[in-house]
């Protein structure tokens, strides 16, 4: 095998596959990427056995063949390569030579025969989504990350739904750690070919990888085929193995009474929460919210550190209400609100609190209170 490729054609993809190749799997060979020649270019594959990637990059093919090569080392070599034109060829005993006129590397390759197959997906019913919207959706899902050894499917995975609502095609994603929840709806373009279909669970890890390949503009094709969630760009495709398991029925939890809305200035509220969380610690995560007489008094009491309080004027004319929250949950949720004002919907100490943007956008964050 021998080909010549421009540094620029592969430097991006080599960075993006590091997450996949870097993850420990049961097969040592997944530290490598597979490079296969094709007509007028090469096909690069990477996998962590749960998420698989394949992309086509133009190159001048001088001799056909395939190699498996360490992803991290290849990335470092390409990144620091002094000139644009890179020569790659395989040699005896799976040695791979990467060179230019003056630079020469010999890398130990692995046996491409051993490289796990990225499944061939055919006849997928794709629909289109805006790449940036999908990216933002995913970001609002994966920040509620599973911890450590977590195995519960509804925490490890994100619910992905395709529905028809009020005559519109909607893609909905929901993420939770059972103490809070984020839900984002995406209204599909009528031309997008999105159809209502059964709900699936996509692992958050896989979504993180997909996110790396999403551009800030343009569209991508989305499909669900068999056991895979598929995202396809012009030259690149990513497949994520779906998870088995149920997602709890959350819809009854989302009922809100608009008369309970309270409005805040986003930036100010964020700063206030940050000030209050200075005195929280692992053992004292709570900040107390006291609503009374058009005022919100926030207070932190931490037996080992001290206490703090701050007030803010708000629209609150109901009975006084005192409840506590983990301020981190609030800060993380509010960060995703795109409007200058934040809408908060609070009923009582037993009910979830909703955080929404102050417009018609469709993202919703739900946080369960604490009791102190």
């Amino acid at each position: 095998m021998r080909f010549i490729i421009q540094k620029e054609s592969i430097s991006d993809v080599l960075i993006r596959v590091q997450g996949l190749a870097g993850r420990k799997t049961s097969l040592a060979i997944t530290e490598n990427i597979l490079i296969k020649t094709s007509e007028n270019g090469i096909i690069i594959s990477a996998t962590d056995l749960e998420t698989g990637f394949e992309g086509f990059y133009p190159a001048l093919i001088e001799d056909e063949g395939e190699i498996a090569i360490n992803a991290r080392k290849l990335n470092e070599i390409v990144k620091s390569f002094p000139i644009s034109e890179i020569h790659v060829q395989d040699m005896e005993n799976r040695w791979v030579e990467i060179s230019s006129e003056k630079v020469e590397y010999h890398l130990v390759g692995a046996d491409p025969e051993d490289y796990p197959n990225i499944p061939r997906i055919e006849n997928v019913d794709y629909f289109k989504m805006n790449s940036l919207s999908l990216k933002q959706m995913i970001e609002q899902m994966v920040f509620i990350a599973p911890r450590g050894e977590e195995k519960r499917p509804h925490i490890v995975g994100v619910l992905f739904e395709r529905l028809e609502e009020e005559g519109q095609q909607v893609v909905r994603m929901v993420s939770t750690d059972i103490k809070r929840l984020a839900k984002v709806d995406y209204i599909c373009d009528p031309e997008s070919a999105c159809k209502a279909d059964k709900s699936i669970l996509i692992p958050k890890k896989g979504l993180v990888e997909i996110n790396k390949f999403l551009e800030e503009e343009g569209e991508v094709n989305i499909g669900v085929q068999g056991n895979h969630f598929v995202v396809k760009k012009e030259n690149e495709i990513i497949l994520v193995n779906l998870m088995e398991g149920d997602f709890p029925n959350f819809t009854p939890l989302l009922k809100q009474d608009p008369s309970l809305n309270i409005f805040f200035d986003k930036e100010f509220f964020l700063m206030m929460l940050k000030r209050m969380s200075i005195l929280t610690s692992d053992n004292y995560k709570g900040v107390v919210f006291h609503f009374e007489n058009n005022q919100l008094l926030m207070r932190t009491i931490n037996a080992s550190l001290g206490e703090s309080k701050e007030t803010i004027e708000i629209n609150y004319g109901r009975e006084p209400l005192e409840l506590a929250f983990n301020p981190r949950y609030f800060i993380e949720a509010i960060n995703f609100i795109g409007t200058q004002k934040v809408k908060m919907n609070i009923r009582d100490r037993e009910s979830p609190c909703f955080i929404l943007p102050d417009d018609e956008s469709t993202n919703l964050h739900v946080i369960m209170p604490m009791s102190m």
């Binding site: 939890l253 037996a303 080992s304 946080i367």
Partner: protein, 611 residues
């Protein structure tokens, strides 16, 4: 009319049948129990060759008339119960009418017994279950039962007898159990003509404990007292420094009967509340008095076990009785200090050896039985085990038990002094804080110490009802195994007060609605399962406090600073002074020591400045 009646067959069938006579010690046990039931206050046990050739138990109890004596060796003949309902109300040690006939069936058996109303004693000789002769003889009031050549007619079982040393070891155990059960009775054991144990009657059971284990145990005893309407707990627990890896040194007496009971043992461990390492057991003598109807003694052929009708109640009584015992001072120390312990058998000896009676000691035929002393000398029972090598009776140094020079030791729990006067030296390996306290170099395990501090703080918050609780948006369902769910179901109420709001959803399914905030990021299911299976394994249902404690420990461990964390001088000082404020500064909640001490003398010795 005779006192002894033969039980109707239905009733006798209900009684746990089985192997009463397993080895010489079981014979001794049965005979001693009969003597106690007969109201004796003096029991003499004489054995030869570990009981293999002779066992003779003499008492000064009520004795039997000739007809009763003949009935006594009939199967299912007992004076102690008559009707089926008596079986639920057993107040005596015996109740089956099975012991004497079983013993007589496998030995050459002689019974000599005289009642107060007769001048002459009945004498019966039975060989292999057959009555060979019935006669009369002169004898003191009471009963003498002699068992020769045990298993002479069952060679198979005779073969299974162990060495004399092993068998006498078991017999010593029986004597000790009887002695602890009834401090008011004199129990004397003679082996091959030598007095092995002689426990004189005492009015304070602590004296009996000291007689059994040696006077050094006294300063380490904490009295347990919990009188109750139905259940009363009393006894002594021993300082945790005397812990060991098995339950062998936990002596449990239920209505005067020595039993083994894991549930009670674990309740006891719980009462030590973090003063013991996981897997370690304390030494303790615990008396449980409970109405006979509340406990079934008829569950084990040798009566080694009992079943409580309401185990949870019993366990909680024990746990709280033991927990309360730490508030009291240890028993006053023996003031008449004898010569001090020699240098070379000081601390290690004290910890591991001579305080306790034990089979290993008994097994050295020349050592354990001192024929040179008169058996009725007070305190005779202890003497053998408490001699130091130079022949002086070993005494604890009076100063600080557990802190003898030459050994780094964890301080006994009542020693709370010092930490406040600690002079900080520095940190070692980012894990241990070094300081100087008086004449000692003290190491503090920073993780263990912080765990203890957090744990006590949490506990205070918890007791004040101030644990932050994270509510769950989506209640979590947990499926447990059958036995686990039964246990968890019982504890639903207790768990709720901890912020673990859990509801039984039917069958083995539970729904969790809130979690203590500190562990809200963890999956609760494995914790619950581990917790439930631990409880199931212990056969012990703890009360609310124990549940809270387990969870609190988990939470404290979660938040504590790790080993391998560099601490600033200020942080170390803060840690030490916070530790000093703890109720129990010397153990982390898991029971590991937080501090260890090196007396100056140890160093001086190491540098050969002193010898």
């Amino acid at each position: 009319m005779t006192k002894i009646k033969i039980l109707p067959e239905i009733l006798s069938n209900k009684i746990a049948a089985g192997e009463v006579v397993e080895r010489p010690a079981s014979v001794v046990k049965e005979l001693v129990e009969n003597a106690i039931d007969a109201g004796s206050d003096k029991i003499l046990i004489e054995v030869e060759a570990g009981g293999k050739s002779l066992i003779r138990v003499s008492d000064n109890g009520c004795g039997m008339g000739r007809d009763d004596a003949l009935l006594a060796i009939e199967r299912y003949a007992t004076s102690k119960i008559a009707t089926e309902s008596d079986l639920d109300n057993i107040g005596t040690l015996g109740f089956r009418g099975e012991a004497l006939p079983s013993i007589a069936a496998v030995s050459r058996f002689t019974l000599v017994t005289r009642q107060a109303d007769s001048d002459i004693a009945a004498k019966i000789f039975v060989e292999g279950g057959r009555i060979k002769s019935v006669g009369e003889t002169g004898a003191p009031l009471g009963t003498m039962t002699e068992v020769r050549h045990l298993f002479f007619n069952t060679p198979g079982r005779r073969k299974f007898l162990k060495t004399t040393t092993t068998e006498i070891g078991h017999i010593v155990d029986v004597a000790v159990h009887a002695a602890l059960a009834r401090p008011d009775i004199r129990v004397r054991l003679v082996h091959n003509g030598r007095v092995a144990r002689d426990f004189l009657p005492v009015s304070d059971p602590a004296d009996r404990i000291a007689d059994v284990f040696g006077p050094d145990i006294r300063p380490l005893l904490y009295p347990v007292k919990r009188p109750g309407e139905s259940i009363s707990i009393s006894g002594w627990i021993v300082d945790p420094a005397m812990d060991n890896g098995s339950m062998n040194r936990i002596f449990i007496f239920v209505n005067g009967r020595h039993v083994k009971d894991r549930g009670v043992a674990y309740a006891l461990v719980d009462g030590y509340a973090g003063r013991l390492m996981k897997g370690r057991f304390p030494m303790a003598v615990i008396y449980i008095e409970i109405p006979p109807g509340q406990v079934d003694v008829n569950v084990h052929p040798a009566k080694h076990e009992v079943r409580f009708v309401r185990p949870k109640e019993v366990h909680e009584s024990i746990r709280s009785a033991v927990a309360a015992a730490w508030q009291s001072d240890p028993a006053p120390r023996d003031q008449d200090a004898g010569p001090r312990m020699g240098e070379d058998n000081s601390q290690t000896e004290f910890r591991t050896g001579p305080v306790f009676y034990g089979r290993t000691r008994v097994s050295e035929p020349d050592v354990p039985y001192d024929s040179g002393r008169r058996a009725d000398m007070p305190g005779f029972g202890e003497k053998v085990m408490h001699r130091s090598k130079n022949g002086q009776p070993a005494k604890m140094p009076r100063k600080k038990p557990g802190l003898e020079p030459g050994q780094a030791m964890q301080a006994p729990i009542w020693e709370r002094t010092g930490l406040l006067d600690a002079v900080l030296i520095g940190q070692f390996k980012n894990a241990y804080i070094l300081c100087e306290i008086g004449d000692e170099l003290v190491f503090i395990d920073q993780h263990a110490a912080h765990e203890r501090i957090l744990y006590e703080r949490l506990k205070k918050k918890r007791d004040a009802g101030a644990i932050p609780v994270q509510k769950l948006l989506m209640p979590e369902t947990v499926e447990l195994g059958a036995s686990e769910s039964a246990l968890i179901e019982e504890m639903v109420g207790d768990l709720a007060t901890l912020g673990l709001d859990i509801e039984h959803f039917g069958d083995e399914t539970f729904v969790i609605k809130s979690l203590p905030a500190m562990i809200a990021d963890r999956e609760i299911k494995p914790l619950l399962i581990e917790f439930a299976s631990e409880l199931a394994g212990d056969g012990y249902t703890p009360g609310l406090l124990a549940v809270m404690d387990k969870l609190t420990i988990l939470m404290a461990c979660h938040g504590a600073i790790r080993a391998n964390q560099h601490l600033l001088e200020k942080e170390m000082r803060a840690l030490i002074s916070q530790l000093a404020e703890c109720d129990n500064p010397f153990n982390c909640p898991h029971g590991r020591p937080t501090t260890t001490r090196w007396p100056l003398r140890t160093l001086e010795k190491a540098f050969k400045r002193i010898v």
